[in-house]
């Protein structure tokens, strides 16, 4: 098992290192700006005093590395600093919204993952049939469609025309879970539709790749039933690629969520990010970016770890 432990430690430290470097990038990219961030943010018309005040508030009067470490140290303790726009604690702004975003992404994932896996595996098993071909065209179209297009179509038909679900997903912290699921159904459905196509195509490709292995043909030549070939010969080797597909798409969901939140005016992290970008509220943008990036890196790390743990060659070292 030594090999596996070593690889796991390697991956995890690599993940942490990436996270660290990403935090460096997010923090220091601000200093890429020619001149002064405070000045740039307030524009040329701002008075010297206000610029100075902002400078102080952002800590721009201190050396760069000190600022970085106090920023990072704060974040590690849950303190993201203060918003420039409304002077509120960023952690306060983010807390509930991040939970909302996670809820939406998980909601979508719970519908999307089983659906995509079943449809994808079926497409692989019934390759080159009319089912497979139509699945190809439909998923290809759906991948190519912007999230807001799907969102507005759903909104127009399901909500405005037929009145099944609310068009705006306004929830608060104390919305009960069923009510919450009802109100966020359309955004979750949008995300599902967008991500299912991707996940299906990847699942299909992974399974087809697997079924082309010589050992699958060998199993057939040993007279194994189709069912046994799938459950006993394909499946144990399929976990790694399937897990990979799932996790990568969850990471994709996290990004897709930004646009969907804006369309449905859902109080999530994406919405906050977009608002802060338009207001050029840098500390908030940095905090949101870090959270999104960290989630993304974490998911990729999980994919890596799981695919190591399910690889038979690694599980039984020489």
């Amino acid at each position: 098992m030594n090999d596996i432990v070593r690889m796991l430690i390697q991956r995890i430290s690599l993940g942490l290192l990436t996270l660290f470097v990403v935090s460096l990038i997010i923090f220091f990219s601000v200093s890429l700006l020619p001149g002064d961030a405070a000045q740039a943010m307030l524009g040329q018309s701002a008075t010297e005093d206000t610029v100075n005040a902002l400078r102080k508030q952002m800590g721009l009067d201190q050396p760069l590395h000190t600022r970085y470490f106090s920023w990072l140290g704060g974040i590690l303790q849950g303190d993201f600093g203060v918003s420039i726009g409304n002077k509120r604690e960023i952690s306060e702004l983010i807390g509930g919204r991040f939970a909302n975003t996670l809820f939406l992404a998980l909601y979508a994932a719970f519908i999307a993952v089983p659906l995509a896996l079943v449809l994808g595996i079926l497409a692989a098993l019934y390759r080159n049939t009319w089912y497979d071909r139509s699945v190809n065209v439909v998923t290809l179209s759906s991948i190519s469609t912007p999230e807001f297009f799907v969102a507005y179509i759903l909104m127009l038909f399901v909500s405005v025309k037929w009145g099944f679900f609310p068009s705006l997903a306004n929830v608060t912290l104390d919305t009960p879970i069923l009510e919450r699921m009802y109100r966020t159904f359309l955004p979750a459905l949008t995300l599902t539709l967008v991500v299912v196509a991707h996940m299906m195509r990847m699942t299909r490709a992974a399974i087809i790749n697997l079924l082309a292995s010589p050992y699958i043909e060998m199993a057939a030549l040993k007279g194994m039933t189709r069912r046994r070939i799938i459950t006993h010969h394909a499946l144990p080797n399929a976990w790694a690629p399937i897990i990979n597909v799932i996790v990568l798409n969850l990471a994709y969901l996290i990004v897709g969520v930004v646009v969907v939140e804006v369309v449905f005016v859902y109080p999530g992290l994406g919405q906050l990010l977009v608002d802060s970008v338009s207001r050029r509220d840098l500390p908030v943008v940095q905090a949101c970016c870090l959270i999104f990036a960290a989630t993304y890196i974490l998911l990729n790390l999980i994919a890596d770890i799981l695919s190591i743990l399910t690889n038979p060659r690694l599980l039984h070292p020489k």
């Binding site: 912007p146 970008v277 990036a293």
Partner: protein
């Protein structure tokens, strides 16, 4: 038994057929005729878009930013698709949007390809430390989702079309780097590259004459896919109000400007969104067909 026939190779199993004496055009036309319906549809879409983009000023009934009516006018003979939130003709804006949105996305993709392609090719050809350093940088940059990273950088550098093209071009070049490097590495391990090195050829010859011709098909397909991705990212940014800025006509921002109409049971915002979707679908169909044809790797991707 040493009196073997000298040209024993004629006995070689099934010698490949001679190249047919056909012009490239006939080959292309024949392939087109055999193409699946989806690919033909895709090509038709692309050709139409390019035509509209090139001749926008002549096709459009009004000027790009011209205010010609009231806000949100209904569809009529005068304004085929109604007017927008400022009273500009929707159809005109859609037509000019083809030029702006598609043009900007195309430029951005081109930038991403120049940057990522050259670096990827060099990383594969030189190998060693150059490759290690470039690859690690790209790994880190790719750890941040493009849309999120782009938003951060737009906040810092300010929102303008030039900034957006540069930012997305650079961020997306990481993806191009990855794929270019990956396909080039497959070529670099071939004996003919070693042979060229041992002949004493320089880096220029090896990358341009030896590697590049062999990675063109996958790169061409990737260009299509990248274009779609860039196009969707830019549209998303514009839709969020962070991309292409008014008064430039652009499909993403048009959806945003007319979005409220949806709640009044009006299709208008779907039209620019549809324009975006149609092009990406078309390009994807063509790429899909191209991948089937060129690689025989039907089931990858």
């Amino acid at each position: 038994m040493s009196e073997q026939p000298k040209t024993i190779d004629t006995a070689d199993s099934s010698p490949p057929p001679l190249r047919q004496v056909e012009s490239k055009l006939t080959v292309v036309l024949r392939e087109l005729r055999k193409a699946p319906l989806s690919a033909k549809f895709g090509l038709l879409v692309i050709v139409t878009y390019v035509f509209v983009a090139l001749f926008a000023p002549w096709i459009a009934p009004y000027g790009e930013a011209e205010i010609v009516g009231n806000q949100f006018e209904e569809w009529s003979d005068e304004f085929l698709l109604g007017t927008d939130n400022l009273g500009r003709d929707m159809l005109t804006r859609i037509i000019f949007g083809a030029r702006n949105t598609v043009g900007i996305a195309f430029l951005t993709t081109l930038l991403a390809f120049l940057l990522g392609g050259i670096c990827g090719l060099l990383a594969a050809a030189i190998g060693g430390w150059t490759d290690q350093i470039l690859s690690r940088i790209v790994d880190v940059l790719m750890a941040i989702p493009v849309l999120i990273f782009a938003m951060l950088l737009l906040t810092i550098f300010g929102q303008s079309v030039v900034n957006m093209v540069l930012i997305i071009g650079v961020l997306d070049s990481t993806r191009v780097f990855r794929i270019t490097r990956a396909v080039s590495v497959n070529v670099v391990v071939m004996d003919f590259i070693e042979s060229a090195r041992l002949r004493g050829e320089g880096l220029g010859w090896i990358t341009i004459r030896e590697i590049l011709p062999n990675i063109m098909p996958p790169l061409a397909a990737e260009f299509g896919l990248r274009f779609c991705f860039v196009f969707l990212t830019i549209s998303a940014l514009s839709f969020l109000g962070l991309g292409i800025q008014p008064p430039t006509a652009d499909w993403g921002s048009m959806v945003r400007d007319t979005a409220d109409l949806i709640t009044f049971d009006d299709y208008t915002p779907l039209i620019p969104a549809m324009a975006i979707a149609l092009l990406t679908i078309g390009v994807n169909f063509v790429v899909d067909w191209f991948l089937h044809k060129s690689s025989g790797l039907k089931d990858e991707h």
